[in-house]
Symmetry: C2
């Protein structure tokens, strides 16, 4: 076993020094980072974007199958995703941790190595934070600061009648990855030599444990000169996010079942656990794909873009929000996404 | 008993809508607040300051004697204090909450009413956040964004040999307030009709439960044309913060025991609990007063300013950091402040 150091040996400041050693800003806007009362940022002619997230052990992650490095990576990336979803570029993050006594310095270093890797890959500076004790479990709070040219920020509220509805990548895989991890955890319970079976389902595991933010899509759209009218990242599920956009834009929508992008591994897993595939894709959540709307005249351009699928269109508000099924029926869209506020939501399967 | 609503009745989005109802931005820099992937801020010719804090039930607060409204107020104000400590003005906050099932909607509304009151008083906009479940207890993460003219930001690292060391207000009272609350909690344990005795010690209770950020001092200094060379707010204790300034500025310091401002209620309480008064003032923490250094030629001006006390001076680094006691001896300063990372630190008295 590797050397483990009690956190109390270093103290709070010693721990912070160790975790933030050698950090060098990569963004011009980062004037002062870790080590003062506040970070100091400079944005001359742009808008500043701020998003924040709180991750709680036992609610958002289960350390029996989530490696700490992956957890750190994901905690950072899901916040970057929020900034990209405003058509911005993430520039800085602050990380606040509450740590219970069962964690050692090496554990927290592993968590930070994931955060720092994500920062490196996405060109983001870690500029501050807070480290404290917790009575039970690990709590991670990440705040991300980004920027965008004033006229390029994309909100939820800009969708217009006849706009195309598009998503990047594919949906439902992260949720199926969670089902798979939960299943193998239950099968392996009490057997310390148990080796979980993920063969042929690596993609699902990766989507759950190591999601990426779709910076590539934002760049592609920018290159093509397309500014979406509304955009969100899919964290709670396609249905939930679409309803947010339609509510805030005062519109309705139609999405087509046969247009929703689903990976074959997601389909196989849904079959195995006897779950309705479309429901999983609509409500699974944690995909961190981009959902956006764009004017109809971009149809040809968007149809040809790799990694983007047109799944429906915006309508007048009186038409409501519906899924058009393969047989031509309309089903009202409902937000059944991950609801961390509902009792036992984190282990509940969506209704089929 | 007032009506109590289960959080699951509203769901996450319903709860957020309820908590953020009627919020109107007061700062020009707040373009978009709550209700999108990220808040949108605009800072044309200034530096942006960001600070973050995580408060955990059972570590930073005890709900047996801290009313939720006060807790919300304090959680916001201590972050404003960090921005003032950089010589900036707090403009926006984001609030992320993890809430266990024993809290109702009315509880969280009480907490938010304190946050909103603090925002109102200090002219800060609540622009975003996250609300989620927790397995045990309440966790509050606040991130504050502020601004300052580029050439006015004051860091920890600017103190110079011969600079004056100043503090605002008085020290040790918040810590003594905590001792008092803990004592009355223990006395009253198991007796539901117990009425705690705070007569004559209201100031200590107020300092612990409802601290204020020293915006007035920042404004006074600005009006007087004084830009401190280094500044911090006193959250961990005077010794700890002074050592930070001296380390980051590569200096030493001398502070004089008889110059440290202490309220008479603090002195009486220290006597009652048989605690060394100066140790409490040096290491108690949570005062949220400002500690700053300024060039020697401001001596006369600073001496005359209400609420500011000159307690010592900066020295060359080789002289180290010391307290000069009343009898003229020198005691090396050590950081014994609240250390939330040490086991049982939150209930430990500083060494006498």
């Amino acid at each position: 076993m590797e050397k483990q150091t009690e956190i109390s040996q270093l103290g709070e400041f010693g721990l912070i020094d160790r975790l933030t050693e050698g950090l060098q800003p990569v963004n011009e806007s980062t004037v002062t980072g870790v080590g003062d009362d506040a970070a100091q940022l400079r944005y001359p002619d742009t808008d500043v974007l701020v998003s924040t997230d709180l991750l709680v052990e036992g609610i958002h992650f289960d350390l029996t199958y989530v490696p700490l490095k992956h957890l750190g990576y994901k905690a950072a990336v899901v916040n970057f995703s929020d900034i990209y979803a405003m058509n911005g570029t993430p520039r800085q993050i602050t990380v606040a941790l509450a740590i219970s006594s069962r964690f050692t310095v090496e554990h927290i270093e592993a968590l930070y190595s994931g955060i720092r890797l994500a920062c490196e890959i996405y060109g983001v500076d870690l500029v501050g934070g807070d480290t404290t004790a917790s009575r039970s479990g690990l709590v991670i709070s990440v705040t991300c600061i980004g920027d965008a040219p004033k006229d390029k920020v994309v909100k939820r509220s800009g969708a217009k009648d006849t706009d195309l509805i598009c998503v990047s990548g594919d949906l439902g895989a992260a949720y199926m990855g969670l089902q798979l991890l939960e299943r193998e955890k239950n099968v392996g319970r009490g057997d310390k030599d148990f080796i979980p079976q993920f063969d042929g389902k690596e993609y699902l595991i990766e989507r759950q444990l190591k999601p990426e933010a779709r910076r590539d899509i934002i760049r592609e759209l920018d290159k093509a000169g397309i500014v979406p009218t509304a955009m969100m990242d899919i964290s709670d599920g396609l249905s939930s996010e679409l309803l947010h956009i339609c509510k805030d834009s005062n519109t309705g929508c139609r999405v087509y079942e046969d247009r929703i992008p689903i990976d074959y591994q997601t389909a196989i897993m849904a079959e195995e656990v006897n779950m309705n595939l479309v429901t999983a894709a609509l409500n699974g959540g944690e995909d961190y794909e981009l959902l956006f709307t764009a004017p109809l005249h971009y149809h040809e351009q968007l149809s040809k873009m790799e990694g983007i699928k047109i799944i429906g269109h915006i309508t007048k508000p009186e038409l409501g929000c519906a899924l058009v099924t393969r047989d031509g029926n309309e089903m009202q869209l409902r937000a059944q996404g991950f609801n961390h506020m509902a009792p036992e939501a984190e282990t509940e399967a969506p209704e089929a």
